[in-house]
Amino acid sequence: MEKALIALAAALAVGIPAIATAYAQARIGSVGAGTIAEKPETGGIIIILEAIPETMVILGFVVAVMLILQFA
């Protein structure tokens, strides 16, 4: 039971930030596509902006790994 809860906690630690990241990236992506259509030279910056929300899920992933390593 305890292991199941730890697994659930780890899953939530990755899952919730993943949803948030996906939402943010979807918004940035659609706006970015419009920006690139008007100013193709902004392509590089938009790709970087697209990667910024990934911090959330990466940190979530790290938390999940630590939860499993510490408690499981």
Binding site: I45, I47, I48, A51, I52, E54, I58, F61, V62, V65
Partner: protein, 631 residues
């Protein structure tokens, strides 16, 4: 950069401007605008427009195929374009344009005709049996477009009229057959005795029906004879279109580079005339001024001296602090690091007094990227890919990316040896390769600590550069804030060392002093915003844990790929699945590591000191066809 002021004689202006164009290092203080173009440039601009129009009509865009020798020879001819040369170019371009237009128009006409002939054939095939059957009976068949009228009504009116006009004419029955065209219009074929065709025509015309005719040159040909003629044409037209296409392709290959060269030279000449016009002229003297990179100063001086002697007066001076915002920025880095200047092209132009981070990006970007990939096998593939791209010298951007990939590949191989990975665990299984440091898929925490430490050092370096930048630019708030952050980070580091017990407890007061001093500097430099910045810097450091996280996911995915061979055996499906997952992992590793490593440079590192506001160095130079871009 040094500021150049040059005075010369008006009658030598053209030659002097041309010489400066050849030197290709002067960034003009006042960029000449096309709107102010003098009449003398007008004719050349028209020719330039014509040449560009022809290139677009030819669909030619291979600027790197222009032979340099050819360009040099023609440049000499166009150096002093008199009326005869301009007239000759105009006549040539016009004649070429006419021939090209003829070919394109003929092709367009043939394409139109083939379409209408095919459509007519479809209609005739539909009515072919009806036409043949009634023609053999000696009747004339006519085809009509019918709109808004009922076909049976029309036919009954025709039959009635024939009966009234010729009561003894025997069978007054009028055979007909109708069809709906793809466009939705109704076409009806009506057969009538030759004596009654006139009646059919009168009634159909009175009912707003139009005769359906064969297209173009087949208009007067009887339907039955028209079919074989049009079938022949349908077979012949594509051959003729093919011939025209082949002619246009040959023309493009032969004339594209020539017209391209002409365009480049005309564009250069127009620019020279605009520069001449923009120069300040007083009596017999003119003046030009602009910026020249310091290391080019001697070459420019010597060149002008040797070419024009004392007839040109040159004066140099260093930029004053008030001018720094307007001085163009030209990056100068060792050749190995030059490809990394690409990263700064995505940022606002570096200020003249700004710190150029290219070398640091060249060190850290491939280091972080390689740490994420961390696989000898993937590293070798990236090296091969990088070598291939680097050879594409005619595409500088691709060549630069190739050079950067070679750096990434070197660090990937280094980290691959540290983690003991060759395509995941294949190296361990087949070659008994052991990690030189640790196996990251099994021991996660030390890699995370290492990457966060890397982040600490990188962010601290960013703050140090920000501090130096603030001092250089005499920006008090900037250097105070950056120094405050350095102290806060120092306090954080001291506290962690104390907690670990690596330092005696009496050093605690040093950590507290650092913190107090840091907070005071932050408040002085950036107010409350400065304090928030300190929290942000901790977030920045933690962000480097992505290096470990992405690397871990890449290592595990590579092991998953290999496990397909374990579970399915050395079969086609097993190997195919393993290769597919490895390919996916490779793409993700290269794209992810590049993107995240770039992000760490832009957000976490450059954000600490990089300031834009500079002016791009645009030397007045000859066009380089391989770098030429359409305006």
């Amino acid at each position: 950069m040094v500021f150049l002021k040059l005075w010369g004689l008006v009658n030598e202006r053209s030659m002097i401007v041309e010489s400066l164009h050849d030197l290709g290092v002067l960034h003009l203080q006042d960029e000449p605008g096309e709107a102010l173009s003098p009449e003398s440039a007008g004719e050349l601009k028209i020719l330039r427009g014509k040449a560009l129009g022809l290139l677009e009509a030819l669909g030619w865009d291979e600027w790197n195929t222009i032979p340099k020798k050819n360009l040099e020879e023609k440049r000499a001819i166009l150096s002093e374009p008199d009326e005869t040369i301009i007239e000759g170019i105009r006549e040539s371009l016009d004649a070429f344009s006419m021939r090209l237009t003829e070919q394109v128009a003929l092709k367009s006409e043939l394409e139109g005709r083939i379409s209408s002939v095919r459509s007519a054939l479809r209609t005739l095939y539909h009515f072919q049996n009806f036409i043949t059957e009634n023609s053999t009976k000696g009747m004339d068949v006519t085809l009509w477009w019918v709109q808004r009228v009922s076909v049976p009504d029309l036919v009954s009116r025709i039959q009635k009229q024939i009966s009234e006009k010729d009561p003894l004419g025997g069978d007054s029955k009028t055979p007909y057959h109708s069809s709906v065209s793809p466009g939705g219009e109704t076409i009806v074929a009506i057969a009538a005795h030759p004596d009654h065709v006139r009646i059919v025509m009168e009634i159909m015309s009175a009912s707003d029906c139009l005769p359906w005719l064969l297209p173009g040159e087949y208009e007067g040909v009887p339907y039955r004879q028209g079919i074989p003629l049009m079938e022949q044409a349908v077979g012949d037209f594509p051959r003729r279109i093919g011939e025209i296409d082949a002619t246009l392709k040959r023309t493009k290959l032969e004339w594209g580079p020539k017209i391209g060269a002409l365009f480049v030279l005309l564009d250069e000449k127009v620019e020279e005339i605009l520069v001449e016009t923009a120069s300040e002229t007083r009596g017999e003297i003119f003046r030009l001024e602009g910026w020249v990179p310091l290391d080019e100063k001697e070459r420019v001086s010597d060149f002008i001296k040797s070419r024009f002697g004392d007839r040109v007066l040159v004066k140099w001076r260093d930029p004053s602090p008030e001018e720094w915002a307007n001085v163009p920025t030209s990056l100068k880095n060792p050749p190995y690091f030059r490809p990394f200047e690409l990263f700064l092209k995505l940022m606002p132009v570096l200020g003249y007094k700004g710190l150029d981070p290219t070398i640091l990006i060249g060190i850290f970007f491939p280091f972080f990227g390689g740490c994420m990939i961390g696989d000898i096998g993937y590293g070798i593939i990236i090296a091969l890919l990088g070598s291939w791209l680097k050879k594409m010298k005619h595409r500088p951007l691709v060549s630069d990316i190739g050079s950067i990939l070679l750096f990434v590949a070197a660090w990937s191989i280094f980290w691959g040896a540290a983690y003991g990975e060759v395509f995941g665990d294949i190296g361990h299984r087949l070659l008994h390769l052991e990690p030189l440091w640790l196996e990251r898929s099994q021991v996660v925490i030390p890699v995370m600590i290492f990457t966060v430490s890397l982040g600490f050092a990188h962010v601290l370096l960013g703050y140090l550069m920000g501090f130096v930048q603030g001092i250089r630019a005499k920006h008090r708030h900037l250097w105070l804030e950056r120094l405050g952050n350095i102290f806060v980070l120092g306090a954080l580091l001291s506290a962690m060392i104390l907690v670990k017990g690596w330092l005696p407890g009496k050093f605690f007061s040093i950590a507290v002093s650092f913190l107090i001093l840091g907070l005071a500097l932050l408040l002085a430099g950036g107010g409350m915003g400065g304090l928030v910045e300190a929290f942000g810097s901790v977030g920045n450091i933690l962000s480097y844990v992505r290096i470990a996280a992405i690397g871990l996911s890449s290592a595990i995915l590579a092991m998953v790929a290999n496990s397909f061979v374990d579970s399915m055996g050395v079969t086609f499906i097993g190997i195919f699945m393993a290769l597919t997952i490895h390919l996916l992992n490779f793409v993700l590793a290269v794209a992810g590591s590049s993107l995240h490593s770039a992000r760490l440079q832009y957000v976490e590192f450059l954000g600490k000191f990089h300031s834009g506001g500079g002016t791009q160095y645009k030397p007045f130079s000859r066009r380089k066809p391989e770098l030429w871009k359409k305006r």
